[in-house]
């Protein structure tokens, strides 16, 4: 694809209001927004609730379909749909992770995972939906196996981070787990043989030209051979690994620093997400949303990225989460301290046509 010839801009499609406190995180429901299935978005908030928004196929505008409340008694920090879209996992400051089942649009809490000493900050399903990872302030990362009848076994409790773990994220195709932390590092976890023996196979820290402050989030490109991470150090970093050797079963294929995008942000970057089409999106404490793409003049010794467009004042307050819809509709969702969720679409600033990729 080629972003060179045109100037692009984000256009606000809709503003979703309903949360009574800051919105922390978002999750597009897989298998929706494509061939007839109306797009569904979950948002979780400091108001202790999760809201489910559904796009009406008629008007194309989103409405709040359900409010998941009275289960978490503190902030709901993060939410994630299982690949099948059947289950929604929500991680809360109340030290629990709740599993919700979507039965024809109304949600019931079918299980709560307890074990973290205090705030749970992130939850993530692996590609197959067989494993669930959580992390939290107790510096630990937990891996759960999904059993029949909504049973969950704790596979392993991973200690290794020296601080508050901010986010866990599974590799898009392999059962490799990535976690990033207040201790400025990203850790890569893999299972050694089939016997639940999970351990840290790599730590990306300053010495591996990693981040110099809290790493808030990370995300993978479509093919899974690149990873982007964002941090309180006001940079985003691109990492790469030899996907071939990985698929040949060598989890230890190391991740290496490809490049650092600095000088674009002047306040903490809370969220980063890499679209299927290769557009990296960041949400930061400066209320702005930025889009980056790989630039043609990427050279042999590593790719280069350029700012595609920047949306100033995308929200009235910090932008906590940005998320491309995984399906065809090219929508971007953002969540903010101002209590709103916004839906954006990328278009050329000439304004007429939606971006054709």
């Amino acid at each position: 694809m080629n972003f060179a010839d045109e100037n692009f801009e984000l256009r606000e499609v809709q503003k979703l209001e309903g949360h009574t406190d800051r919105v922390w995180s978002l999750a597009w429901k897989p298998t929706t927004g494509v061939d007839g299935a109306p797009a569904v978005l979950a948002s979780c908030s400091g108001d202790k609730t999760v809201r489910i928004w559904e796009q009406s196929s008629a008007t194309g505008s989103f409405q709040c379909k359900a409010v998941l409340e009275d289960t978490h008694n503190r902030t709901v920090r993060s939410c994630a749909w299982s690949p099948s879209g059947k289950l929604l996992a929500t991680a809360s400051f109340d030290a629990t992770t709740a599993i919700w089942e979507d039965v024809g649009g109304d949600f019931t809490c079918v299980s709560t995972l307890e074990g973290h000493e205090n705030e749970v900050k992130s939850v993530s399903w692996n590609a197959s939906g067989s494993l669930l990872a959580t992390c939290g302030r107790d510096k630990s990362v937990w891996i759960w196996e999904v059993l029949p009848h909504n049973e969950f076994d704790c596979v392993s409790v991973l200690q290794g981070h020296t601080q508050d773990v901010k986010m866990v994220q599974w590799h898009p195709s392999m059962d490799i787990l990535f976690s990033c932390s207040y201790d400025n590092t990203i850790k890569v976890w893999a299972e050694d043989g089939g016997n639940d023996d999970w351990h840290c196979v790599q730590t990306l820290n300053e010495s591996s030209s990693g981040h110099t402050s809290t790493v808030w989030a990370l995300s993978f490109n479509a093919s899974g051979d690149k990873m982007v991470s964002c941090s309180d150090d006001l940079t985003i970093k691109i990492w790469g690994a030899d996907i071939m050797s990985m698929q040949s079963g060598d989890e230890n294929a190391p991740w290496t620093h490809l490049c650092t995008l600095s000088g674009y942000h002047d306040r903490t970057i809370f969220s980063v997400h890499w679209s299927r089409e290769g557009i990296i999106c960041t949400g930061a404490a400066d209320d702005a949303i930025r889009l980056f793409v790989e630039s043609e003049e990427s050279v042999a010794d590593g790719p280069m990225y350029k700012l595609l467009t920047k949306k100033e004042k995308a929200h009235d307050m910090d932008v906590n989460a940005v998320l491309w819809s995984s399906t065809g509709n090219k929508l971007l969702a953002s969540a903010s301290d101002d209590g709103t969720v916004k839906i954006w679409e990328l278009g050329s600033s000439s304004g007429q046509k939606k971006l054709q990729l």
Binding site: G115, E117, C154, V155, S156
Partner: protein, 137 residues
């Protein structure tokens, strides 16, 4: 049909009772043995470690007995973890407090213990953990 259910039910009850008794018992003598081993180590820390080990020992005993009653009660994976705890407890260098491996093993035990509790959905807690001050964040 009914009777099957009955049996099932009673067996459930049985488990529970066994579990409870066993647990208390184990917990109790866990503490005791812990105290004893602790005294042997002598030092205050030694006592604490001993107590904690004892606690885990007690729990492991209980879980094992529970597993014996009804293998399905505890999943294979968890039983494996319990076994690992068992081994760790045996191999703990009680008499050589200087050995660093000790602290690593304690950590390992703690993790596995938490994993098991979480899986069994049990609110067990070893109240000897260094409590985090309530005004930290």
């Amino acid at each position: 049909m009914d009777c099957i259910e009955d049996i099932f039910e009673s067996s459930l009850k049985l488990e529970e009772t066994h579990f409870k008794d066993g647990y208390d018992e184990g917990h109790a003598d866990g503490l005791i043995s812990g105290k004893e081993e602790g005294r042997q180590v002598g030092l205050k820390t030694g006592f604490e470690i001993g107590e904690e080990l004892g606690f885990y020992r007690g729990c492991v005993d209980v879980w094992n007995s529970a597993a014996r009653v009804d293998p399905n009660f505890i999943s294979v994976r968890i039983q494996k973890t319990i076994k690992q705890m068992d081994e760790l407890l045996h191999s703990y260098p009680i008499l050589e407090p200087e050995k660093e491996s000790g602290s690593d093993m304690i950590d390992a035990l703690r993790l596995k213990f938490r994993a098991i509790c979480a899986s069994l959905n049990m609110k067990l807690e070893y109240n000897g953990y260094p409590k985090t001050s309530d005004v930290e964040f």
